[in-house]
Structure formats: structure tokens, C-alpha cells
Symmetry: C2
Subunit: 267 residues, 2 copies
């Protein structure tokens, strides 16, 4: 999906919500365990319950990978079930030397037809650029993450006076452009969005950390929104585990609608 | 496998060679494509040809993942075929927020019975520590990698005067200890090994970049070896693609023996 198509969908739905599909077998409603593929059954119902309110889905690959080959089959069925107009993000946080990153790009952009993949920047330019070679596909580089560990390295001050994450945003942005690159900026860093917008005024930001991680949605939007919106705000656990009983679909739907309604206020 | 068992095996074999299993379907001998599982057939023959000369195998997960579910089946068969005394490394470069890293740990330490996994440090302490909770299992943190992109961020100078990779080595080392943590230091940084040894005198270093990437084996050993050896030196392409004709096993065996013989000189 290209930038224009993504933006058009956002304005049409008045939503920039991304729903994270992190199906944990120990957390999904127990009656689903009787199905042949509980992970897919869960995802299917979550998708049906939320598709009206979101523009993107983000399967977190760890939750599929840990199930062995059958997890990848559940992932493929999930991808095939998601409506074609949705922006599809592999939350995989990959990154390796060039020939290996190229294999990861092949995995997520060809073997599985994702629009985008999250990538860790530590290994530098030749670990990120192989993901940028396929048209209409996106790299989403970790900038400033939502977890407490972001203070370990991302927030270190460099000799230049900049923080490491600022250097990551600025330097990495030159390897692609705002038509094939986004950045992860966690909602828990709500006060940094204005600063970040000065450095990367046009790039989309993928924002996790609303919901279970308690980032402030309105502060994030006020600091991060641009003319083209430029935000995809993700909620995973806050939606998909809003309840784990037979009403989980209704509860997921309500939580997604609540977030969507708050987003609509800005459009 | 614990540290004592690894060291004992190294001294017994007079080798600290790790063979990288990166089976690329476009590079393996074409006659193997006629088998039902060419990837496993290739790995099996490489393992038979090299097991006398190495103490560890390192499948690079990208090369399996890109084949879809059947790639993970080939990986499992490969793991099961590798002799039990070998140290088994998942070159996966994972790392995410705590609950997700825990899933990745489950994948590689339980679903697949690896001894160790490579992890990217950018997301900080709570992204690395979930991998340290399982006894006899190891985290191998990216320190200073072998690719040109290591200059993008790893070699940046911090306000403190240290390079980022030095801070990563020092800080990360405090999250575990030398019985459950190793570091990746690329052989192409051959002049940095003495400096790195001052910072982490006891940790094992996993060293890629000998062979196809042209790091200097002897300089690496001289700068990095300690009483307990403390090195696992990896070669992937230099061994497994030494030839791609019907003599590939003999050529792989020769290349592995050549490296092992050079290592033996130091023991």
C-alpha cells in the first residue's frame, strides 16, 4: 500500500487506529481452545469486531513463532482473512547484515504479504536498506520505544548533544523517505512528540503504548498529528484482552470504537 | 549447556569454531533440490562434514523463516540431527518489550531447544532480561557487529567519551553474568579486541566475519583469547559455500579443518 492509499483510508474512516494481534494462548477465551486453530479463531473474531474502527492490523510475530510451524499457518490464515484495504504491519523487529536482512524482507514482503515490517536500527544502514528495495512496502524503524528499557541506550546523550534516538531518527530518515519509512515512537514518551515532529515533519509514526502501557492518547495526537495525519496509533492488549469471556468480541469492539471516536475529534 | 561444559568441549576438540547454517536455496548444490527437504539434506551433509572440527552450530533463522512453515520444519529436523554435545545458537537478533521477549525466549529455548539466542540491545534492559531467566540458556547481545553499518550508531561517541558499543557491553554485562551472557563482536573489528577484553574480561565473544567478510583470524584470537578461551569464531559462507558442486562436503570439511587447525595453535 502506498502513502496516498493509506491516507485516503484514514480520512474515509476518520480513524488512525491500528489493532495489535498478539494472540496468547493462555489469555484468549478458553472456549476457543476447542477449535482446531484457536489462534486463528480468536483473530478472526477480533478482526470482525474491530475492522469498522481501524485502518491497520499489526500481528506481533513472537506470538505466532512460539507455536512452531502451526503458528505460521495461523498467521497466514489471519493475513488472508484481514480485509485487503487494511495496512498490514509485521511487528517483527528484525535487522541483520545485508544478505540476511534481504531474506527477512523476502519473508515478510513476499512469503507473507505484509505492507510493513518493524526493524531495529542497531546494526545500521546496510541492515535497514535491504527492506527499502520493494515498491509499496515500508520499513518502520524503532526510534523511541514505549518500554522502560528505552532509557538504557535510546535516551543516552551523544557527544553532539543529541540523544541517540534523535540521531537514529535523523540519520535513518535519509536512507529512505516518507513514502517508504515510518518510525516507532512510544506513547509513553508523550512529551517528545513535538520535538520529534521538528526532526521528521512528514513521516508516519507508529505509536504503541496506548492502553495497557498507559500512554496519553490526546497528548500524543496533539504533539504528533500533521496535515496528512501521520500517525498510526496501536492498541493490542487494551482491545483484544478487554475481556476473556464469551463477550470478548463486544468488549473488543467497544474499546476499538472508543479509541476511534477520540481520534475522529481531530479530523 | 553451561559454561563448564562448553569450555570442556573446546579443550577436548582443540577448537572454538562455530559453523553457521545459512542454507540459501539459490546457493546450495542443485542436485539437492530433488530431495523432499533440500534444506535439511544440505544441513545434514554439512553437519556430517564439519562436526569433527567445530563445537557449535549457528542456524541463521532468516534463511528458514523465509520458506514459510516448512522452513521451520527443516530447522527442527536440523536441530534434532546436530549431535547433543554441540553448543546451539539461534542467530535471530530478536528483542522487544518484556512480554514479547518472553515469547521469543519460549520459542527458541523451549519450542526449539537452542542453548543461546542473539539479541539486539536497542530496546534496553527489559527487552534483554526475559531471555536470562532460564537456567543453562544464554543471551548473545550484539556489541560491535561485523558489517559496515556498525559505524551508523554503534561507533558513535557518547557525551561520556565512550563509544555506544562500549556502553552496550558494559551496561548489558551487569544484567546477567559470564555464565549466561555472551557478546557478538565482529572479526572485521580486529583491532578492538584488546580494548573489549579490558571491559569484559571473562565473557565469551561470538565472532562472525571471518571468511566471506574477511576478518583476520589470528589478530582476533590474539586480542580476544583468555584462559577459558572465551571465543566462538563463526564461519558460515566460507565453509558451507566453499563449493556448490558434488564435492561441497569435502570442501566444507577442508575449510572447517583449516580454521580448526589455526585455532589449535593457541591451545
Amino acid at each position: 500500500m502506498n502513502r496516498e492509499e493509506l491516507i485516503a483510508q484514514i480520512f474515509e474512516k476518520k480513524s488512525f487506529l491500528c489493532v495489535g494481534l498478539d494472540p496468547d494462548i493462555s489469555k484468549i477465551p478458553s472456549f476457543l481452545l476447542e477449535f482446531e486453530d484457536p489462534v486463528f479463531e480468536f483473530n478472526k473474531r477480533i478482526i470482525d469486531a474491530t475492522k469498522e474502527y481501524c485502518v491497520a492490523y499489526k500481528p506481533n510475530i513472537a506470538f505466532y513463532e512460539c507455536l512452531g510451524p502451526k503458528g505460521w499457518i495461523s498467521l497466514k490464515k489471519t493475513i488472508d482473512y484481514i480485509p485487503k484495504k487494511m495496512f498490514l504491519i509485521a511487528d517483527a523487529k528484525r535487522g541483520d547484515i545485508g544478505n540476511t536482512s534481504l531474506k527477512y524482507a523476502e519473508t515478510f514482503f513476499k512469503t507473507y504479504d505484509f505492507d510493513a515490517i518493524t526493524v531495529a536500527p542497531y546494526m545500521g544502514e546496510d541492515s535497514v536498506s535491504p527492506f527499502l528495495t520493494i515498491s509499496k512496502k515500508w520499513v518502520i524503524v524503532l526510534g523511541l520505544t514505549s518500554n522502560s528499557g528505552s532509557s538504557s541506550f535510546q535516551q543516552l546523550t551523544l557527544e553532539s548533544g543529541k540523544k541517540l534516538f534523535e540521531d537514529v531518527l535523523e540519520k535513518t530518515a535519509t536512507w529512505g523517505d516518507h513514502s517508504n519509512m515510518m518510525f516507532v515512537v512510544g506513547a509513553t514518551n508523550e512529551n517528545q512528540f513535538s520535538l520529534i515532529r521538528k526532526k521528521i515533519p512528514k513521516h508516519f509514526l507508529l505509536v504503541p503504548g496506548v492502553g495497557a502501557q498507559e500512554g496519553d492518547l490526546h497528548k500524543v495526537i496533539q504533539g504528533g498529528i500533521i496535515k496528512d495525519v501521520g500517525l498510526l496509533i496501536n492498541s493490542s492488549r487494551g482491545i483484544i484482552y478487554a475481556s476473556n469471556d464469551k463477550f470478548f468480541e463486544e468488549r473488543a469492539s467497544e474499546e476499538a470504537k472508543k479509541l476511534k471516536d477520540q481520534m475522529s475529534l481531530y479530523m
